[in-house]
Symmetry: C2
Subunit: 327 residues, 2 copies
Amino acid sequence: MRIHVQNHNRDGNPKVTSSDWKSRAEKAGPVSKDIAMSFGCTPEDFAANISSAEGLICNARVLLEHLPAEAPCLKFIFLTHAGVDALAGAEDRIPPDVVVLNNSGVHGRKAAEYALMAVLMIANELPYFVERQQKKTWAKRVCTSVQGRRATIVGLGSIGSAVAEKFHALGIRNIGVRTRAGDHPYCENVIATETIDSILFDTDYLVMSCPLTPRTAGMLDRRRIALMPKHAAVVNVGRGELIEQDALLDALDDGRIAGAVLDVFVPEPVPPEHRLWSTRNLLMTPHVSAADPATYISHSLDILFDNLRCLREGRPLPNQVDFVRGY
Amino acid sequence: MRIHVQNHNRDGNPKVTSSDWKSRAEKAGPVSKDIAMSFGCTPEDFAANISSAEGLICNARVLLEHLPAEAPCLKFIFLTHAGVDALAGAEDRIPPDVVVLNNSGVHGRKAAEYALMAVLMIANELPYFVERQQKKTWAKRVCTSVQGRRATIVGLGSIGSAVAEKFHALGIRNIGVRTRAGDHPYCENVIATETIDSILFDTDYLVMSCPLTPRTAGMLDRRRIALMPKHAAVVNVGRGELIEQDALLDALDDGRIAGAVLDVFVPEPVPPEHRLWSTRNLLMTPHVSAADPATYISHSLDILFDNLRCLREGRPLPNQVDFVRGY
């Protein structure tokens, strides 16, 4: 098998190197035998390798830069991230019969740690104390334990499930929200997305951890934000577009909800003049919640090898993207 | 038995009311029978009740205001907090043969949640991102998972043990530090205080969670801070005096350690002109880490009833203060 890795040219995000590949291939065992690899980051590198590649490893932005491509041997594309919203509307440019795999699973642990941090910060009044610190003012405020509090977790994929597990370990009572109602080992109940209104009034922490699709875009809108109690807080580790952002910022500025810890926004990067920066009781991080660079590439390649194992054995591929569903 | 509760007059901190007492006494069962209670907060209330009281419930400040007192029947004093450093030097004013009980155990869960929040904030670069947010600047920085990181937990009493348990659940590798080396279910190793130098170089998160005593005052001094690696961070949920504060602030301002999350300071309240407020990579909360007001009083009374049970049965009292040891 021939697999080509097309890395991006931007700094900051991790790249797949041949030494990464070698070290994970060794661990993966037989499935990694007889794979010939090529690595590149220029258009020339891509052109020289894509015509013979059976597999392509890249991110969505790189993929869109190079599509459509003459890739007669291509069987699969492995995206180095979980969300495929950036490919929405561009599915037709992917050669037919090519399987797209996402990197779902790579973000769970780190994003769950971030969500746990976020609810602990809310319970410990960090948005308030950070503001007091800037004003050099000592002012106490009643804090709470998270134990026994109620979280509503929207999306129970790899990230939402990991969030539910970590919350449960601290005694937080979880309600999951997903496409269909059902069970989850770390949720007291799992309700269907269309019934979310029924639970918002009883939510202390609302965690957005679902993929961005046409069904989920703008899901937490002004009307739903108004259903939340005044002491509630919002955490977003999904995508900025899941929330009607201006409605959330209005609610924060007016004190109609208690706080928010957000990692994703519209737009990104957030420009200096944006109202986000000066919204009350909001703590912001620049889209860093879900990635642990120290383990990102090795974990990603392990996920790919799991899928290659299924491919060889004719089993369903756990990370195959369904563009109708949107993840 | 006659027990008098002398509440303070200050707002903010929880008080023991007769309805608190009734509800916990009911749960406590036989041990709470035949106890006559009185409640007060003025000097007159104290004077009217102390001469016949066998038990006194109050905090250290209230106790010092009323000592010495004519209390011929007094057998025990139950302090409504865990630390007894405020009584240092005043032990002689406590009538002889009166047992002093502290409230050790009431702070564990909440303080451990705070410490967990603190290390997650360090791993997620919150001190840096909070500063960026104030400057309205989008700037990414590599974050990490806490899994596999190394915490050094100084003090393994009720708070330190709870910290170790929560850290362990997230895969943090703990080294405990206490008076004598030994074992702990959630620590890889427990070393004696005097050998702490040997572990500081290998510490990602240093958590101060021990009582303030003459042995521990100034324990994290300038020399020891210099032994910590540049990426390390300090969390203090104990007492400000455990740390040579100026040395810590110098290290933070000079970037010789990565960050700190502090809940306790010298002095408290921190005055507006203090350098603490403008130290780099420091996040501050106003001595709120260990108290969960919603459950504080009920939990405190449960601890008292546990001790009364031991008293009646002639067993050692788990919360008896040893003023030589200092806790």
